[in-house]
Amino acid sequence: MSETALERQIRPIYDALDHGSNKSAINACNKVLKKYTNNTLVKALKALALTRSQKVEEALVLCDEILAAVVTDDSTLSVMTHVLKGLARNSDMVAMFDNAFKQQPQSEELGAQTFFAHVRTGNWKSCQQVATRMHKQFQEDRYVYWAVTGAILQANDLGTAPNIRTLLYKLAHRHVTSCPTPSYMAVDRFHLHLIILQELQLWDEANTLLESDIGKSICSASLVCNETRREIWRKRGLYKDEGERAQEKIKNNDRNWLEFVSVIDAAFASVQGPDVSEEGKSECSENIAKTRDFLTEIGEVDGSNNRSASLALLELEKNAFSHGISSDENTLVDSMENYFSQFGDKTCCFEDLRPCVDLGADAKARWISFLASEEPSFATTGDLQRVINVRKLQRISLAASELSTDKESCLASTYIEEYMAGLDLGSSLPVTELQPADDLAILVGHAFVSLWTMTKDESYLHNAAVVLEFALTKSRMSFQIRLLLVRIYRLLGASSLALDHYRAINIKQVQNDTLSHFLLTRALTFSLSATGDLTYPSECIESSQIYVSNSQDTPDFIIRAFTSEKYSQIPEFVSFDDRLENSLQRDIVKLEHVRMRMTHEPINSDLIDMELIELKFVFDRFHHDNRDFGMLPNYQPACQPSLNDQTLMFGNSTGQGWLWYFIKIYIRAFQHASDLDDIVEEKLLIGDRPKKSPEPEVQLPLRERLAIRKPEEVAELTADELQLMEWATAVSDWLEPYHDYTRPPPAMVLAEANKQNELRTGLPLRGVDLKALNANANANGHAKKDEEAPPVKEPPQLVTQFFENMHARFVQLQQSQCLPSDLLHVATLTQEAFLLFAVESHRFKTASVVKIHKLGALVQSLKDIRSKACTVLKTMSTDLLKMGEVAGSAERRKSFVESCKPITDFPRLHHDFVLNIAKNVGESRKKVLEGVGKGMVKICTNYGQ
């Protein structure tokens, strides 16, 4: 058959793949392969179709065949790229292109593809080497810059030692200077050059570049180059020059804040560094006077049209005081008062003044009385904004001695009153607009949350919820109000209401990474997944989609940035990719999902093995915390924790320490229950292992790492979580010897895996030498070990007592004034312990294992613990169900409404409105209390025997 005829046969395969009909693609491939048994392109296409239909083993066999010979033709390489990407085998891809490029060193396309394959794996050293080779071969300037970028990225890698870093920058510098065309031919090349000079502190060369006509013109048009220029100037200590330059720009109407920063820095140039001379001080105070004149002049010209000069004056006075140049804070307060008079009607006025309010006693008294002298007016939105700014500034200045429940209650009613007055100003706004008075409602929320933290009286949270819910009816789109409600409802255990508000904010894409903590932190507490309601596990999965799209898409953009020579973007993209790939929130959600998964899926070796491998990967990461805690406003007094901290459920959030602790519990339990040891895992793993963190601790053997306990990590656990941790450690220590003794040897496990695979696909496992396995197995007999079985020990007291202790704690909480979320926390942790116990005892459920190893006594102990635990869970469940009943009752609604007495005097917050909120809260609580209660019974039924 001719080549065109073959092509005609291949075309339908592509079509089938494009249309997602993998089955027909496989059939079509098989047909062609009958005649052309060795056609690599068709084999590759078949591998792709197999990968896409999840037939991984078969695809791998084909891949091995294809990669055994060197592939050089474009089509096959392109198909294989997709296959290997799908299998997460980037290292195979790198090898494939490396070989191809070696075979055809004259092919520029292959060179580039090889380079890109290394980019995908983040192997910057190889990138730099391949690019250097390409430059030698093809004499294209851009490959020099590819090599330079490779060197810089390698230098910036976390694991690179400082001396190597310098060496790499020197190498990059050599590359740039040896390039025949100067760097200023392109903005991004020029920028790269500047970065290198900055790192190596080659100021003369930087000066020549920047002071040249072309350098100046590039910096004037390119913000990114100008940014680097400014940094270089500052690093050189040229504050005065930069200050003069900035003054000129300001005189020419430039109002970029960076120019003002330069002017202020110039004023304090003589008092920089540790040893400040008297001359330096007096020079500085002269400079301050001059700068003050300059800024005052600009401020007078700009008037209220522009706040830069006035704000710069504030900065100047504040710095003069903090540097010890001025001893009188009165000038600062003067500027603050002026500033407020001019810009008090802008929302940002509060943010602008906030850093200045930390004043000495006299100055503070003056400032406070100034604020108090402002007469509240609601005539215009500007006036309203002034009122809001005064209230916020007053609030953050409240001293601990002034704070009392009376004071806060009084403030709360002032805020509500003013909020209601302010509402009239926005009465004609369309529903999509935000009310100008919103911040006053948020202040009400602050006051009630503060009252709750002082008294632990839940009714204050009811008041907060009612006012905020009312504010939402006026300002439907306010995400700040909704986020605060999410927090309050979680505290109140009204989790479905929290979920509704969270969803209404419409968080998507990358926002999931930064904001899902609002909903998913310790979401197990509210998860009803044991009863089959998978709302929370699905939220976990949905919020994690962003990580999939990141790993699919971002590397492509890094590659595109190379082809389009956007070097300034490359380190940004690389770090963006890394921050999402190794996001702390990603793995916190992952763990939360595992915790929930165990409540509704059967605990078997599939679940255990898979989660074990994944959690071990997570344990090797270097995490980045991208969580955004700045979305809740904070107007709490400086002497109090922030609103964010006050409203965190159980008083803290789950950070790295929490993740490490929980992951240690789970890895250890799964390790015990699993038959996978390192040898088996290596054989069964398909894709590449993720990049390991360079942290020294991560290099320790896993066993040692699992035993590490750090006080700063413990601090992130609640007292109850710590109990769980200690119990889990004791259980693991107690059962470990029996697991290690009874676990089948690797040869047996692999043989079994092989058998399963043959049954499923008709093919043996690749990479597993069956003959050697059999020989081993025969030599060892049938899983018989030489050493004696470890003697069965009684369980430690910590292990046996745990469930009763948790029950005691539960009862104690019930009797005290506690939030439903606290009770649910104890209940779900007890349930979690029970499930972990099911994992730890999974192996000993098989009768033959117990019989062969004579573990009858151990099994009896396990049974005792389990039955005790079951009793506790069932009691808790009954209590939760009862509480659910009460939570949804009419009396509860009535007492909710009564507890809102402080606010129901306002006609708009009438009885029916409050009753409706009471009803919603009651029903939501009932749902979660009952759901968790029922789930616990179900779990007892599944694992109680």
Partner: protein, 217 residues
């Protein structure tokens, strides 16, 4: 042989979010020059832009959208940071068109609620105009705005933009709302750059020139 699996989306915007513009933005003082840090928009800003993007008028797209803009037109994407380090707003733009249609386009401009009425949008638009002129040598800058968004239109007019044509059903599938056609139709507004000496990119009767959404890029 061409192998197409990854679909590169050239214009991944849904129709109805071409320009996300809050009407409150448009109340402005013409003389007011903004005070804040103007700097290039960076990929890492996606972790920090929640105060801007949680606003109902601003759409959050997939990461490929932002990365496409940064990879192709990083010099037309800026952000304004407050002196206290919070993001206040950003603008994303691109350069497109052939011959005398070669121009800068404002895809999205958005300012966080607490930083409105400070002329941040105007400042960012000016910077984009400057870059379209200096770097890209375009003939004009254009943008799309809902026909019923009178405040925004007035603001753009104050900034030197004028209606070039009316694009029918540009904001598609919202259906005909209370403002009828004005809600789903867009004005394509333009402002000449220095290269267009004869000012051929604009016209005075633009509001009467009606084209269908298929005819515009």
């Amino acid at each position: 042989m061409l192998f197409s699996t990854s679909k590169h989306v050239d214009n991944p915007l849904p129709y109805y979010f071409k320009v996300s513009f809050h009407s409150a933005l448009s109340v402005l003082n013409v003389n007011l020059i903004t005070m804040s840090v103007l700097r290039p928009f960076k990929a890492s800003d996606l972790f920090r832009f929640n105060n801007i993007n949680l606003d109902v008028w601003t759409e959050t797209y997939g990461i490929t959208f932002y990365l496409t803009y940064l990879q192709r037109w990083s010099d037309l994407c800026f952000t304004q940071e407050s002196p206290r380090g919070r993001l206040q707003g950003y603008i994303l733009g691109k350069a497109e068109g052939a011959q005398t249609e070669w121009h800068g386009h404002i895809t999205a401009v958005s300012v966080a609620p607490e930083y409105r009425r400070l002329s941040l949008a105007r400042n960012m638009c000016q910077r984009l105009e400057f870059a379209s002129d200096e770097i890209y040598k375009g003939y004009f800058v254009d943008l799309y705005v809902r026909c019923n968004n009178a405040l925004a239109i007035k603001m753009y007019e104050g900034m030197g933009y004028s209606v070039y044509r009316r694009v029918r059903e540009y904001y598609g599938n919202l259906g005909v709302g209370k403002d009828g056609r004005d809600e789903e139709d867009a004005f394509d507004m333009r402002k000449c750059l220095s290269r267009d000496v004869a000012q051929r990119s604009i016209r005075c009767n633009g509001r009467d020139m009606i084209v269908s959404a298929h005819d515009v890029s």
